[in-house]
Amino acid sequence: MFFAIPLLIVALGGMFSERSGVVNIALEGLMIFGAFTGVVFIGIIQKSGAHIDGQMLLLLAVLIAGAVGALVSLAHAYSAINMKADQIISGTAINMLAPAFAIFVGRRISEKGTQQVHFEDWFRFDSVPKLGDLPIIGDLFFKNAYLTTYLGFLILFISWIVLYKTRFGLRLRSCGEHPQAADSVGINVYKMRYAGVIISGILAGIGGLVFVIPTSREFNATVSGYGFLALAVLIFGQWKPLRILFTAFFFGLLKAVAASSSGLPVLKDIPISSYFYKMMPYVITLIVLTFTSKNSQAPKAEGIPYDKGGR
């Protein structure tokens, strides 16, 4: 669950961007930016000794992570949409910038001059009132949980509604498939694409923070390739919210197996290196993408800058 939720959130973010027609390979970098600022914010508040509710603090950090993600994604949007730059290049630039930024600023603000940013876990709750007492379901979903897990599902639900049930969603999708058609009926393609990229920035920023909170006590300027894994989830999920959910959980499961392989009695007895399990998600990504890429349902105009004059 801890592995799947960030994948879900970030992949959904990527979905908004790509459905509007902009490839967002910068998810990884946006995650780092979001996670870094979120964690720094939490650290500062915690050190200041302010008495603030853990969940409240988490929500504030989520907001900040999202805002920073949105801000950074503007750079990608500007180069990809206005300057008609190669979207892969501008995305890669953000990916390279992000860890450098996190390390540099991290060292500047930490007392010992290390790049790790520490924080304390104030956010876990043992059980959700009432729901936690339910048999089986309660144990699975409502104990030892983080608020962010539910946030993930909320984002999924809202994404689905927005994409399929609103005017905004319809217009966004048309811009990713056939921007000329959208333009001919008076839709501002540039605006819609900006919206798509910014939403992806917000969600990637949040996703970054959501990735760090449950799995670690410090942030070390990396999100371990989760942004790229989210891209794989997005593709494997065929750019559709519900399929993204299943894929995210599939990859989450693989990651969980990898992380706990030495702890699970059955797996421990099989003489396979734990590195093998750690490789699994990536190997499977490669295999799956090889076989599914043929009947991919990628948005048709994805990655192609929109030029009003072009026909």
Binding site: K165, S174, V185, G186, I187, K300
Partner: protein, 503 residues
């Protein structure tokens, strides 16, 4: 539109053009490619601002600054290339851009009713729930028309609407257009097909090289006059060809079959035919009935699953594209941009594409540019290929007609035994069509075998000596163009004559 002038650097695309559309009429706008039709429409839609001239609607001067202004004025357009989102439903495409919203959510119910009402009223049969990618081109076009009606447009512009339709669909469209004008809509109909103008249009405005020629009442003129106005000289619409007794068999295709890689269905199903010397054989059929695949299999662009091809006594069923070319096959491809030319190469390179490897053009692997340019100059002269900078012209910047001339020059100059021409006149104007037909007849007179694939009935019957009809990958008819009517051929193409043909 009164006295509209639009200049581009070095060229006056529209020179003092006046176009008056009356309420409830079908007004044709006729002109060759590059005559300024598209520019004029772009001015009307506010995509370009004219240097001079005004646009009036109902007697009032209006200012059009963009497509949205045009929509507000009730002007809508069916573009030549449909502006439809392929994985949206018909209904979603229609409402896109002017959706109805209820509590922040889309509400499609009212829209569906409105669309169905229009569909009833004007005889525009569509399925609102179907995905665009699943429906026929005709239905896509009806979707586009509904899009305009849904926006309550009064002035409907059709940009070469029949280019993509089957003969039956064209007839349907004509009926729809008449219906629309009966309901008080006005239609501007851009085309370069003369019989369509005669069939539906009330009046016709002719443009030539950016200049306004005249506006005529269609009933008081005829095809010859119209084409003369359009091209600026007399054009022979009837193809004249000398009688030739066909010689020996050049190509013998037997049981050719191509399977779809995904579904395993036979796209080309057991096709057999022969082409003889001095004979033009036309394969007619509605687009998408296996013609493209048949040609790919013949030319070696795609592997055939079964059957054999004998070219002049040589089995070439399993040889490469170049081997087939060397064996005497030339190919004028369907899509000149995809298979015919390297658009960003200059004209000389494109003309040398089939021969650069010959000893004359290369020396131990190094190209002999002097020879290549000299050869290109020769072809340009001989085939009258017009371009801005001669051999150095990037092919992308040339007009469609001249691009096609370049391909024809390259292919014919290799002195092939068999020439496969796939829709060689697609998208070209009357002058260029005439030129290409002349070249084909000329090759026929030299005793070459010619296989012509065409979607146009007129072409299929006009210049061929024998017409085969392909339907769902099978040859369903083999007729003499002399004794078959358009209607009969249309029926064969729609598949209904299959039984009789096989019997």
């Amino acid at each position: 539109m009164l006295g509209v002038t639009k200049k581009f650097p070095g060229i006056t695309a529209n020179d003092n053009i006046t176009l008056q559309l009356k309420k409830g009429e079908i007004h044709a706008l006729l002109g060759e490619n590059g005559a300024g039709k598209s520019t004029l429409m772009s001015v009307l839609f506010g995509l370009y601002q004219p240097e001079s001239g005004i646009i009036k609607k109902n007697g009032q001067i209006v200012k059009v600054n963009g497509p949205n202004d045009a929509t507000k004025l009730g002007i809508g357009m069916v573009h030549q290339h449909f502006k439809l989102v392929h994985n949206f439903t018909v209904l979603e495409n229609i409402v896109l851009g002017c959706e109805t919203i209820k509590n922040g959510f889309l509400s499609m119910g009212a829209a569906r009713k409105k669309v169905l009402d229009f569909s009833q009223e004007y005889g525009l049969e569509v399925d609102p729930q179907a995905l665009i990618s699943d429906i026929t081109v005709g239905m896509q076009q009806r979707t586009e028309i509904l899009k305009m009606l849904y926006r309550e447009n009064e002035i409907l512009i059709f940009d070469e609407p029949t280019a993509v339709l089957t003969p039956q669909e064209i007839t349907d469209l004509m009926v729809i257009m008449k219906n629309l004008t009966n309901q008080g809509k006005s239609i501007l109909f851009i085309t370069h097909k003369l019989n369509e103008i005669q069939a539906v249009a009330d009046r016709c405005t002719v443009l030539r090289k950016g200049k306004y020629i005249d506006t005529v009442v269609v009933a008081q003129t005829d095809k010859e006059k119209l084409s003369e106005m359009m091209v600026g000289r007399k054009v022979t619409l009837e193809v004249k060809k000398p009688l030739i007794e066909p010689g020996k068999v050049i190509v013998d295709v037997n049981g050719l079959t191509v399977k779809n890689r995904l579904s395993g269905k036979n796209i080309v199903n057991n096709v057999s035919f022969k082409v003889r010397e001095g004979e033009i054989v036309c394969i007619a059929g509605i687009d998408g009935n296996g013609q493209s695949e048949l040609v790919y299999a013949l030319t070696g662009l795609m592997k055939a699953d079964n059957g054999c091809i004998i070219l002049d006594g040589q089995d070439i069923s399993h040889t490469t594209v170049r081997a087939r070319g060397l064996a005497g096959m030339a190919h004028i491809p369907e899509d000149r941009h995809k298979h015919g030319l390297v658009l960003d190469y200059n004209l000389a390179y494109n003309l040398a594409l089939q021969r650069y490897y010959e000893p004359h053009f290369q020396n131990k692997g190094f190209l002999r540019y002097g020879e290549i340019y000299a050869y290109a100059d020769g072809l340009i002269e001989k085939y009258d290929i017009r371009s801005g900078q001669g051999t150095k012209t990037p092919v992308r910047s040339m007009s469609g007609g001249n691009q096609q001339k370049a391909i024809i020059a390259r292919e014919i100059d290799r002195a092939p035994k068999l020439l496969i021409a796939v829709q060689p006149t697609r998208g070209l104007d009357v002058g260029a069509i005439e030129y290409i037909h002349e070249r084909l007849i000329e090759e026929r007179s030299k005793g070459k075998g010619i296989l012509l694939l065409s979607l146009e009935l007129e072409e299929a019957l006009g210049i061929s000596d024998r017409t085969l009809v392909i339907f769902e990958g099978q040859i369903v008819a083999d007729v003499d163009p002399q004794d078959v009517t358009y209607q009969e051929l249309g029926l064969y193409m729609a598949g209904s004559g299959r039984k009789e043909a096989m019997a």
